[in-house]
């Protein structure tokens, strides 16, 4: 057994993480638009990847904010982020192709106002509060947008509120009566928002955002381990979203998303265990307990 002693110092600056997280997230969410261009649903899983990129960035923001000592638990920051994110994301989905950009702008404005309230009305007086709330709100909105896009195959308001396949116009031509146009009527209750799948996405994302720093904080906290845990929990949430997406997109596309999320989870989980072993004081591989005189 060898114990490798290796300390991680400094790490990536927060602004770099923010830029990577924001750009990867927006680009991946836009890649789900390939579904419309190619008339398939194979690219739905890009939404999940975008959500994980946002969560990865958000974990570092939470670390930044919570190191000032909020007085309340780390999870509260994740909850408020998704509370704002839900409102901003639903509002933004109405803007069709501009949705991710509008989500960022609206979430940023609400986050800045909430940060101002926390700082100036509630008297928190934390220097990074406004910026952190702004970032966390954007993370919340992008995560929910990414997972919703993955679930429904698209981020448009109509795709999120109308069940797939319903509301198609059935046309029948009967010689005696002329053309009869009949509509099955859109099913709103069986959609991502109408079926309250958005509520599950809300909690899956909030858990993935609040858990990494809450689990890794302490004197031995190291950035790469926390961020790897963020990706791991993100993929874990993505597995659940992929399972839910079987109800909304075709089986092949949902299976692609499930396989991608399972592979991603396996890779990040093994990496996280390796990083935990690196940071642990000592690691003893557990073996079954043998009884004295036993075989």
């Amino acid at each position: 057994m060898t114990v490798k002693i290796e300390a991680s110092s400094g790490g990536m600056p927060h602004n770099t993480i923010m830029m990577y997280g924001l750009i990867v997230s927006v680009v991946c969410i836009y890649l789900t638009y390939l579904n419309q261009l190619t008339d398939t649903q194979w690219f739905a899983f890009f939404g999940g990847i975008g959500a994980i990129a946002a969560l990865w960035w958000g974990s570092d923001t939470i670390k930044h904010l919570c190191s000032y000592g909020l007085g309340t638990g780390v999870p509260s920051a994740g909850m408020i982020a998704f509370g704002i994110g839900a409102i901003a994301m639903v509002f933004a989905t109405k803007f069709d192709i501009a949705t991710p950009i509008v989500a960022i702008i609206i979430a940023g404005i609400i986050g800045a106002i909430i940060g101002y309230i926390a700082n100036s009305i509630v008297n928190m007086n934390i220097p990074v509060m406004v910026m952190s709330m702004c970032e966390l709100a954007i993370v919340g909105a992008l995560t929910m947008l990414g997972f919703s896009a993955m679930c429904a195959g698209s981020f448009g308001f109509n795709n999120l509120v109308v069940a797939a396949g319903s509301g198609e116009v059935i046309m029948a031509i009967i010689p005696e009566l002329g053309v009869i146009v009949q509509s099955g009527g859109p099913l709103f209750g069986a959609s991502v928002i109408g079926g309250s799948v958005l509520a599950v996405i809300f909690i899956l994302g909030a858990m993935a955002l609040q858990h990494p720093f809450n689990a890794c904080l302490g004197p031995n906290e190291s950035q790469d381990r926390t961020l790897m845990l963020a990706a791991e929990v993100g993929f874990l949430s993505m597995i659940a979203v992929a399972v839910m997406s079987y109800a909304f997109i075709d089986g092949l596309s949902a299976t692609i998303a499930l396989v991608v999320s399972l592979l991603g989870w396996y890779y990040t989980f093994t990496q996280y265990v390796a990083l935990s072993k690196r940071d642990a004081f000592m690691w003893l591989d557990a073996k079954p307990i043998r009884e004295v005189g036993g075989k």
Binding site: G69, T72, A86, I87, A118, I193
Partner: protein, 280 residues
């Protein structure tokens, strides 16, 4: 930068400059809503603002102990403000939503939500106290006051040395139930106002019948009401900075700040969520 090394900075007093900006934000939100939908949308927004303020007020009654309470070193329920408030609020929301769909009466629904929230806190406080007394073996004693303001029982004889008290005294229990009641009231008020806005606005937006849109309106209002509840609960938690014993705690004097803060936050978030039904 040390992890969790800093000290919570919540000072006393009210920052009047911040309050003035907050009031301006409320007025702007009301003005924009009026411009888009005249009185039809302004009254729901007022309901949302009042609901948010009620949540902020109610959360301060709930005895929150956090991790020290779990170790028997501080009185209160052994978890954070956000979790407790979310529990009480969601229980209230379910109660109110059921009452609204069953009766359709505004007052019954709002009171149903309040009773749901209060009952959830009553059960939580009872089971927490059973655990403290019979499983951890600590008597209920507050460290902030010498006598229980309601029963008059004295605390110092029962308080362990080096702790801030432990268990859940009667005043904290009453505070928990009152807090759950008020927070549940606020949460249900927000839900019903959003539901009324969406069931009126979504059929026009989606060009569909009101019956077809009903499930969508219910779930959208429900999800956003949860979001509102968490935003207001966390802002109140930031105001409390960690733990509070109930209405007898000196930190309770900070409550005006949370009420103003939650009203401003609800006003702006309410504006955005009402604008969902406006076609651009």
């Amino acid at each position: 930068m040390s992890a969790l090394g800093g000290k919570a900075a919540g000072g006393e007093g009210i920052n009047w400059q911040g309050v003035a900006v907050g009031i301006v934000i409320i007025i702007i939100a009301l003005g924009i809503t009026f411009a888009f939908g005249s009185e039809g949308l302004v009254i729901p927004l007022l309901g949302i603002i009042i609901g948010g303020a009620l949540i902020g007020f109610g959360v301060h009654f709930v005895p929150v102990g956090g991790a020290p309470a779990a170790m028997g070193q501080a009185p209160g329920i052994a978890t954070g403000v956000a979790m407790l408030a979310a529990g009480a609020g969601l229980a209230g929301l379910f109660g109110g939503a059921w009452a609204f769909s069953a009766t359709g009466d505004f007052l019954t629904a709002v009171l149903g939500g309040a009773v749901g929230g209060g009952m959830m806190m009553a059960i939580t406080c009872l089971m927490v106290n059973l655990t403290y007394v019979f499983a951890m073996g600590v008597p209920a004693a507050s460290g902030k006051v010498d006598k229980d303001p309601i029963t008059g029982y004295s605390f110092p004889e029962y308080k362990s040395q080096g702790t801030e008290g432990h268990g859940l005294p009667f005043i904290s229990y009453v505070g928990g139930v009152v807090g759950g009641f008020i927070a549940g009231l606020g949460g249900t008020l927000i839900y019903i106002e959003l539901l009324l806005v969406y069931s009126a606005g979504l059929p026009v937006l989606l060009e569909a019948s009101a019956e077809a849109v009903a499930p969508l309106a219910v779930s959208l209002a429900g999800i956003l009401a949860i979001g509102f509840f968490l935003i207001n609960a966390v802002l109140s938690a930031y105001n409390i900075t960690g733990t509070i014993e109930g209405p007898h705690d000196p930190k309770f004097k900070r409550v005006p700040r949370a009420i103003i803060g939650c009203a401003v936050a609800s006003a702006f978030c309410g504006l955005i969520s009402i604008l969902i039904i406006v076609a651009f």
